[in-house]
Structure formats: C-alpha cells, structure tokens
Symmetry: C2
Subunit: 434 residues, 2 copies
C-alpha cells in the first residue's frame, strides 16, 4: 500500500498533522545513538527533523537511517507531529526510510571552508543555509519588483543585450562579433526604454547587464540584474517620490515574506522595520557641506567615495536621497535644474548601514537641440544617437527614470557585505566557473 502515501513538501507538513506522509530530500545533518536517530531532512521547501526509533523500524530501514551520510538522497515515511520546539513547528516520526543515493565525501562539510574553495564549488555551496536564504530573498525581491510595476500598469519592455554602439565609451564593455560587426553587451536599457514611452507611457525593463571592469571589490559583479523604470510626463519630484515608494514597498515585502530567511542570515530586522516612512532628501551641495564638516577633503564637483556614502547614510535611519549633482559629473542625458543649471536633476538613493548607492535616476533632457549639444560636448558618435534623438524630434515630453541593481538591494536586505552571495552564479574578475 506504500504507493498511497502522499509525498508532501516540508513547507506544507502543517496541513498533514497526525497523518502519514513521505518526504523526499537530502540529509543535512544526523545525530544518532544505538537506539534513536535524528535526521534533519531538507527538500528545498524547508527542513524537518525526522525522528527514527530502532524498535519501530524494519532492519533495512534502521540500517538506512543509521548509516546515511551528509547530502544523501533520502525518502522518509512518517507521521507528522506538531511540536513547537521543532524547527518549522513539525516533526516526522519515522516508520520507514530508504536511502535513494548514499553519498561519499561531500566536499562541503559543517566545518569552515575558505571563500575560494566555496566559490569553486558554488554549484554545491548553493545548498548551504545562508546561501539558500539569500537566494530565496533574491527570488522574492525579483517578483516583488515585477509586481510593483505590473500593478501600476507599466508595460515590460525587454531591452536588448546585444547593442550596436557604446553609450559612453567601450572600455568597460564586453564585445562580441555580430556577423562581422562589433556588438556590445548592454550596460543599461534606458536608451531603449525612452522610445517606448510614446507607445506605452510607463515602461520598465529588468534583465542582466554587464560591466567589464577590472576591479575586484565586494561591491562589483561583471554580470548583474538591473531594473529600470521610465515614465512619460514624470518630472523630477515625481521621480523621487516613485523611487521612495518603490524601495519602501520592496522592504515591506521582504519583511512580510522573508522572515525565516532573515533569521537564518541573522539579519537585524529592526534596521529594516525602521525604513517605513518618508526618506530624507539632501542636495549634493548640502552633502558636500556635511562631509566637509566631518573633516572630509571634498569639493563641489567631486564624486562620492564609499566612505563618503557611509558618512552621509549614517546620519539617517532610512535611506537618504541625494539630489542635484554637478551636471558635469553625470551622464549627458540628465536635465539641468532650471533654477541652478550647474547641477542636474539627478538623484542617488543611499542605503543605510554602509550599503551605499542602490538607486540612481534622473529627469532626462527632452529638448532636441539641447540634447544634441550635449552629445557633441561629450564627443559621442552622433550617428549612433540619431534614433535616440528621434525621441525628442517626434513628440517629445518631459520624462524620468531610475535604475536599481538587484544584487545591491538584496545585499542590503540580507545584511551581506559581498555581492557574490546575492546571485546564483557570480561573475567576477577572472572568475567565471562554474
């Protein structure tokens, strides 16, 4: 009659209390005496402790539970008991057990391993508790991002990865041969979103982007996912409000749906709960004054370093929005502030706790001749921008957008210092395996 026992996901054991079910998964850890064995079984949806007593098992089943090794594939049949002390709230009282594959010498043991070793074994490291938790948060945040825009009636416009021309120099671009012509892997979908505004009004893209930067910091990946909304007729203040609403909603969703993962990551949740409310806004000019007062050597026109961001962010519990950067510092397409044309209507959102910039956005220049002049000032190849200028030639409108790197946001949520743990298969300097 064994085939009538339902296989149940650990996450759903609570729906089967006092019933006999089967759990199939992997053995995470085991403790046993000669009479009783405790197996921690993981099936991808959760973990459950299976308690096996020698006197209640067949000889074969006891042999299975008492010899099973770490990461072996197991099939365990048992009765579901509610037990508030058990992780997850339920325990399995085992009546039968089979080892589907007995594993020899799983490389990642409960002892400490170096990062280089773990990165070489990323395909197995994924199974470790903290890695699972971080990637589960990533999965939830990804969907929350899409829900945010879907519910607000944005149209998803997948921007291309293969692009013919470099926006701003080719030194940090991956290049490939496209049937005889050079092509480059995209660093941003923005230029492809703007033409879609006259068709859809509100659009976004969310896909992989690439940066061939010879840098080896914990805050850079060669391949990362970026979400970029772009909105017709939206001006600068509206953009700042949207970015704030976006971040607040995502944080709320993580708090609502990822508590167990944050626990595993030992994240101080109170830091995230403090995000609920209006975000402080300071101008770049004010930021420079603050940094000078803190003894930093920085002048109008200088970009912030990591330390500057940390100083600024540490003054606030919530993310701080720094606005109105020197136009000369920023991308050619940013709209100058009409009241202070030396600065551009751009915004960077700095996360608390030293997580740095997670959003950068701006109102875009929508006047054709002005944008043309900027392209020429920046000595960009005009022929490559004709189609982009067409957006200003044919029915232009004020518009704004921002970009947020998924990995940086997830690192902040999870309290992870290094981006490499926020993406399943990180691509770093000289690191492309597996």
């Amino acid at each position: 009659m064994e085939q009538m026992i339902p296989t149940v996901a650990v996450r759903h054991l609570g729906e089967h209390v006092d019933n006999t079910v089967r759990v199939r998964g992997w053995l995470e850890t085991k403790r046993s005496s000669g009479k009783i064995a405790f197996l921690l079984v993981r099936d991808g949806s959760g973990k459950v402790q299976a308690v096996a007593s020698r006197k209640e098992l067949s000889e074969a089943a006891w042999e299975a539970v008492s010899t099973v090794t770490q990461e072996s594939t197991v099939s365990v049949v048992g009765n579901v008991h509610a037990d508030s002390r058990a992780p997850g709230g339920y325990e399995l009282h085992v009546s039968d057990a089979v080892v589907e594959q007995q594993v020899e010498d799983y490389p990642i043991t409960p002892k400490e391993h170096g990062t280089a070793f773990l990165m070489e074994h990323r395909h197995l490291w994924l199974r470790s508790s903290k890695q699972r938790a971080a990637l589960a948060v990533r999965s939830e945040v990804s969907h929350a991002i899409r829900d945010f825009f879907y519910r607000r009636e944005f149209t998803l416009i997948d921007s291309p990865i293969l692009t013919p021309a470099a926006c701003e120099g080719t030194s940090t671009l991956f290049e490939t041969d496209y049937f005889g012509d050079p092509a480059f892997l995209s660093q941003s979908g923005q230029l492809y979103l703007e033409p879609a505004l006259a068709a859809f009004g509100k659009v976004y893209c969310f896909g992989p982007t690439f940066r061939a930067e010879k840098s080896k910091t914990r805050r850079h990946l060669m391949e990362f996912w970026m979400v970029e909304p772009e909105i017709a007729f939206l001006e600068f203040d509206g953009l700042c409000a949207l970015a704030e609403e976006f971040v607040r909603e995502l944080v709320g969703r993580v708090l609502d749906n990822c508590r167990e993962h944050l626990d595993v990551l030992e994240r101080d949740v109170s830091k995230l709960e403090a995000i609920d409310g209006t975000f402080p806004r300071i101008t770049y000019r004010e930021a420079i004054e603050i940094l000078k007062a803190e003894g930093q050597e920085i002048e109008f026109g200088d970009d912030f370093g990591g330390e500057h961001e940390t100083i600024l962010a540490s003054r606030f519990e919530r993310p701080v929005m720094v606005t109105r950067f020197p136009a000369a510092m920023k991308a050619f397409y940013m709209q100058p502030d009409p009241e202070d044309p030396e600065v551009a209507l751009g915004v960077d959102l700095l996360a608390p706790e030293g997580y740095g910039e997670i959003i950068g956005g701006s109102q875009r220049i929508h006047d054709h001749d002005f944008l043309l002049a900027r392209i020429e000032q920046h000595e960009l190849p005009l022929s490559a921008f004709q189609w982009y200028l067409d957006v200003r030639r044919y029915g232009t409108c004020p518009h704004s957008g921002f970009g947020m790197g998924l990995e940086r946001f997830v690192a902040w949520m999870c309290g992870l210092k290094h981006l490499r743990e926020t993406i399943p298969y990180p691509r770093m300097l000289y690191k492309i395996y597996p």
Copy 2:
C-alpha cells in the same frame, strides 16, 4: 485654477465621467472641418477621441487643435462623456488644448511602409497599433509566466549569461573575451538550474538566450527570452502534465486580460478558446506513422521539419505533445525510456495553426555513470562537465524540466507569422540597429 485639473490616464477615464480632466499624450489621427475637430489622442494607456468645437474654444486652443500634426505631443482638457460608440467607451469634450511639441514629418504615416523601412525605424514603429498590441501581450505573458511559478513556490534562479564552456559545440555561440579567457553567451540555463534543485526543489529561470545562427527565417531570432523550469523528483509523466497546465494557464490569462489587444491584432479568439482541455499526446513513433500515411518521406531517426509539425498539429484543435524521440536525435542528458531504450523521455509541444514547437522538455539522466558515458559518447569536454556531474555524485534524484521560447508563444497568441514583432528590439541576421 488650471493646476487643479487632474491629469488622468485614458484607461481610467471611466472613473471621471462628467468631470473635467487633462489628458497628455500624442496625436494619432485628426479629422476636422472649419467648425469641429476630432483628435484621436494616445497616452500609452489607451486612446480617446477628443471632440473640439471652434465656438467653445479660445482662439489659441482652436489654432492648436486645427493645426496639430501626427505624433505631436498634446495636452487636452475636457469633460469626460460616456459614449458607447466611442472607442474605449468615452469621449472628451474639449475646453482647452495645448500643443506641447508640434512635430514635422513623422516618418511612419498611415500609408503602407515596407518591412525594411519599419525595422530601421523600430524605435518609432513601436507606437503603431499592432506593434503596441503585440508587445502588450508579451508583457502580460511575461508576468503570467512568473506568477505561474511564484504561486507554485518555485524559486527564481537567474542563470548566468556569460558561461565558460559550450554545452554542445561553439558554432552557434556568441563569444567574448572574459579577461583573457573565452566566454560564451548562454543558450540555456538548464545546466545551472539542476545544481539548484538540491537547494530549492523547484526552480526556474527566465532571461535572454542567444543563438548565433546564420539563418534568416521568420521563426528565428539571435536574442530571445526563454523560461525554463526544473523540478526535483519529477518524472516524465509529471513533466508533461506541468507543461500542459502551464500552457493552458497562460492562454487563459491572455484571454482574460488581453482581449482589446487581440482585437487590434484581428486574432481569431475562438482558436485560443479551444485550448481549454486535455492536450492530445502521441509518441514520436506514432507521429512518424501519421506522416508516412500523409505521404511524407520520413523515417524513424529523422527530425521534424516545419511542414511535418504543421501536418501533425493540424490534426488537433489543441496543442499536441509529441513524446519519446529517438535518443540519438536528442541532447546527451535525456533519460532513455526504460521500456524502449531506443527513445528518450523527451516531449515537444506543438502549437496549433502552424506555430510549431513552443516547448521542449525531458526527464534528465540522474545516474552518474550513465551520464558520464553519454558525455564521452558525445565527445564533450569532460573537464567542463565535472561540476554538472557533481549533481549526480552528491544526492542525485530523478528530475525533469522544459524550456519555452517567449517569442514563439507570443507569436501564437497574437497570430503573428514573424517573431520580429513579438520583441521590442529584434536581433536578426545582420540586423542589430537600433
């Protein structure tokens, strides 16, 4: 008092009947006499007819509406009237109008244009009704795909685009230099999903994939989006059931949420409504017999051509699932049928109406030594597959998955013959602009 007039999206005019609102958008078409003008205004959320009467307008406003040109940016203030004859059900009775940008010589006029011309102007062609409709369907389908897996508790595992080794030969791969080593743009995330099963049980990826194929057909793109689920402990029959459930749910969602777009595309909706129900399943062996009986010259071991797929699909109103292909024909990782080892436990789902294969899937080989033998038989570089073999070495389990190309599915939904209209910026042979 003008600043108190709310700007309203056309889609939401119904919430403002008998009130005065502002619509900002683009002039699609205009008809006018000396006394009255009908403007069709598009704002990305929809289109509304704005009716302007000379005697009710200021001189400046009448001048604006009577001289405004195609694709000019307009701001129209008026009273919302419910009118069942109007497209969308509402009309705007104009009290004021401003042309924000008057456009000269918009390249795409209501007359016919050749495809080459339209493709060169893809960034503007996006505004045309049918293009908008197709991309709106794409956006809805994309979100429906993610909802499908999110609701079923799959974890999103973004597979990398930059990969170190070619799965199956490099002839159709885009190559780039990765800090001195060759890297290739991914054709599938499957190999990266399988290791994540022991961590998450049910996973999927959905991102851009690349194929550098020197072919110029209406059914190929160099860059396209593919969704790939992979499920631990799922065997072949379960996989077929999942693929069927998936397609049925997506079709249902398109029928529920995209009626207006299907109307614009003049899609015969009855063909899609017929999808609701069990999908017929035939084996490859049966398919060969059917094709032979139809007079086709085809033998066991031959792959289907487009014509074969059309013949098979035309026998059914619903998608047909062709199963159990000759193992020699298919990828090295497919599990053979234990009852007929000459064939593999693979399935292709063929859409009706000649839209061809939209899903391909299989149960994967989970035995280590058997997979190793297959890798050697296929003369694949063993060193590149050690990490993939680790999935079988450490806690292997039966598992299955499939892949679906987004553009093919959208083409079927929209009744479009050519994939190029199902993606915002198609990448085709020698075509990478804009």
